[in-house]
Structures are given as C-alpha cells and as structure tokens.
Assembly symmetry: C2
Homo-oligomer: 280 residues x 2
C-alpha cells in the first residue's frame, strides 16, 4: 500500500492509500481516517463507509463531516471506492448506474464482470486483511459498516451475511430491495444474470428472513428524497425485519433529500450508534 | 432575489440565491444558511464567510461543516462568491489569482476593473441591504465576518475599516499584508494601479495602526500550509496588531495545510468566537 494523500483533520489524519487489489484485479484507492487516539498499540474499532452510485472515497471524506465524530469516539473510518477502476470492460462507463462507480458491493457471476466486479469480497475480505497488515492499531475484530444509497444496501448485505464479522450497521437512504426496483434490476441482471433466484443472496430484504443478525439497525431516510418512491422503498425492509425479529429503526426525516447535506446532518448520530455497539 | 437551491441541513435550510447586483453590474449567487431558529421575527445575527482564490459559495457550504455550528448557535451564515461573474473583461479568466475568482474584496480603481470589481462595496453595503430586505429574521445590526486565505484578508479589511458595522472577525490562513506578498502585489497592481500609497487602504497590516477595531481577532494558521512562508506571513499582522493594541490571537496549528480539512477542524471554534461576540 502506498499513501498518496495525508491531511491533518480534527487532530487526526485523513489519508488516502493506493494499492493493487488481488480480488478486483486492478489498482484501487481507499481513504482511511485515523483519529487522534490512533497509535500502533491503541487497538481502535474500524467503521467502513460504502458510498453510493457515481461516488469515490472522496464524497464522504470531503462532504460528510464524519471526521469530527470519529475523532470524538476514537474510531478508524475506512472509505473504499464504489467499483473496480480502469479494468476496461466494454460498456463499463456507459451509464451512471452500472459498471464503474456502480459495483453494488456484490460478487458478479456473469461474464465479463465476474473477473473484476467482486466488491463484496474486496470489502469483507481483502480490505480487512490489508488494514490488519498495515494499520497495527486497527482492531478489525471490532468492525461496523454503514453507507449511503447503493452503499447503504451494501452495508446491510455485508452485515446480514456476516453477523459475526460486523458488530454494527446503519444506512442513509439505502436501496433495500434491489430485486424489486429499477436500479437493482439493472445491476443484478448484468452482474448476476437473468435467474432471479440467484439475486436473493445479494438482496437485503430477501436476506432478512434468514440472517442471524439481531443487533440494532439504524436507517435514516429523507422524505424529500427524489429516489424514495421508485428506488429506495425502505418500508420493504422494515416489514421484513419486523417479521424476522431484527430490531430496525427507520427514521423518516421531513424535508431532507438524497444529498450529503442530509448525510452530514445525521452522520454524528450514526457514528454514535456504531461507537455504542463497537464498545461492547 | 431568486432562490435556486434549498437543502434541509441540520434542522435548518441551506439555500442559494441568485440576484442582479447593482454594485457589480452582473448576476451573482450567494449562499444563505438559515438555522432552525430562523423565523420572520427571530432576529438572528449574521455571519459572513469570504472564500479564497478560485472558490465560489460552494466550497465552504459543502466542505466546511459550518452548518452544524450555525445551528447550535442560531446564526445566519452568508457565503458570497469571490468575484463578479460573466462580465467579460479581457484577461479576466487567464489566471487563478487575478480576475474571476480573485476579487480580493476591494473596490478596484483601474480600468477596466473599476466598473465591476467592487467586491468590498458588494459585501459591506449591497449584501447587508439585500439581506435586510429579503430575510426579515436577519439582524444585520449584529454582524460578524470571517474567511479563508484571500477571504480571510477580506474579512480583516472589512472589519478594520468598519469597526462599528462588524462586531466580530476571524480568519483561517489569511493573507495579512497583500502589499508585501506576490498574490497581493499582482492583484493590487491590477485593481489599484502602480501607486503603492493607494494600497494601504486595502491592506490589513497597514490598516491595523489606524483602525478603531479593538475587539478580539482570532486567526488559525496551519504550519504545513504551502503558502505560509511566501504569501501569508501572519506574523506581520500579529506584530502590527500588538503595536496598535488590537487583541489578536494567532494560533499556529501543527500539521495542518491550506485545505478545507484544516478549516473544518477549527470552524466550530471560530463560529463559537463569533457567537460570543455577537451575543453582546
């Protein structure tokens, strides 16, 4: 791993690293915020943030104001990119909601995507191993995960599929049922193929009934979000979670849209939610 | 004034307005954050933020995290642009440190700039009048001003020239003595002409000895700021302020650079500084 950026921020360091990903078969950038408490021996919890369509690590790092709260609670914040980059697949850059910038945090099975589009394994396996190796102060056994929109869904799927690996989860305006909305149908058709039976393993609402996840789930959703009705539909997950016995809090926030002004307004409460779970 | 953006943010509203400026002779955009306390009768103090070279209202609004603190303290935040826009003067867009994006918050006297480049009068006269007219809850008699780099200097000059109009001032990594550094020499030569005697009225360090300003001045300066040695030189103002009896606190922050990660880290303390002065 090679450090390519390093800004002093809220008493800690906002860094960006570049590394060759064996999972994705390309070079990737990942942002890591080390709070002031960080040291080689501090053993701080790790909180992953997964961004939405079209984003890189930079949107959250520059616009969410998360570093203040990570510094307050002593958490390491890790913000990966949203897809493999520069792998030169035909059609990769043709639309904002498929291909580059739109990896959906799943492992693709369809050609040509299956070779590179493996963001799930990258986030849940390769990144934790890299952090453990290069950041001795990162206690990767205490990890939480959250995200926005496509990344909110990614966080829910990572947590529901790995209730032992993650101790906390939350989401801002997540896609919750990709099998039932246009963004998800397009992405899953491309990455996973036409057989919808294969989609359930990557759909948070479908996963809810079978997961062992029983820790609190916090979701904030803006009521003025332009994608709420057609793409997000958080009630679908709230219903599935209630049926499955998962303690999910869905907060509908009047007036808020899908932007980082929404995320910034509530990210302090999300990080406090994670800090509380990660202290246990 | 026409509202062109409106985001819910920390319980208030981050707005952007477009208006025709009689002072500048062009159409301008200005961002206004109304905290949750805002109402037609609330009479909240107004805090102006002046951005640095190449910026618009957007840098501060999207990256500084200021809205949280404005909401806490009940302040209206006003972020104008950094120069007239679209006035089509020859040479206006040729460099990042002169012309568009680089108005320096002075009133130019040289042709062709004098007709449009009057950001000082825009900030100190036209904007307060517009706010008083369109935001009945804005108590423009209680106003503070701060800024970054070129805008930090603009804030100091506005305050020092108008100790009655502004009740508080602070700056992040400001230019403090434009007559003595390359950025200032280039800008003042162009806007004010070759006679350096005319520059003193727009130079914070030169103004210090004659101003009636006696309220606390807060300046934060990153020690890893790439512009510190050549363009900023805050000690020049610290010395002049000490000689003049102005209570100036210059905080040298180890490790911080010139970026918004630096500003975000300390803007909470700056807004608290203003809130304290504006309550008096």
């Amino acid at each position: 791993m090679q450090r390519i950026k390093n800004w002093a921020c809220f008493g800690g360091q906002q860094q960006v690293w570049k590394h060759s990903s064996s999972t994705l078969g390309c070079s990737m950038e990942v942002a890591v915020y080390l709070p002031p408490q960080a040291s080689e021996t501090a053993k701080l919890p790790v909180l992953y943030y997964l961004s939405g369509l079209t984003c890189t690590w930079e949107n959250m790092v520059s616009k969410a104001g998360a570093q203040r709260y990570a510094a307050e609670h002593g958490l390491i914040l890790v913000s990966p990119d949203t897809s493999p980059r520069g792998v030169n697949l035909a059609g990769e850059d043709e639309s904002y909601d498929f291909g580059s910038g739109a990896g959906f945090y799943i492992d693709a099975t369809e050609r040509p995507w299956a070779k590179h589009y493996r963001m799930y394994s990258y986030v849940t396996e390769e990144l934790p191993a890299l952090l453990a190796e290069h950041f001795p102060g990162a206690d990767t056994a205490r990890s939480g995960i959250f995200g926005h929109s496509m990344g909110g869904h990614g966080a829910l799927v990572c947590a529901f599929r790995n209730p032992q690996r993650y101790k906390s989860v939350s989401a801002f305006a997540p896609i919750v049922a990709p099998s039932q909305v246009p963004w998800g149908e397009k992405a899953f058709s491309g990455y996973l193929g036409a057989d919808r039976n294969s989609w359930a393993a990557w759909d948070a609402t479908a996963l809810a009934s079978g997961t062992g996840w029983r820790k609190p789930v916090l979701i904030d959703q803006g009521m003025a979000d332009e994608f709420l009705e057609k793409q997000l539909k958080p009630q679908l997950l709230a219903n599935a979670a209630a049926a499955a016995g998962i303690p999910l809090t869905l907060r509908l926030q009047a007036g808020y849209d899908h932007s980082y002004y929404f995320i910034a307004s509530f990210i302090g409460e999300h990080i406090a939610h994670h800090a509380q779970q990660l202290r246990r």
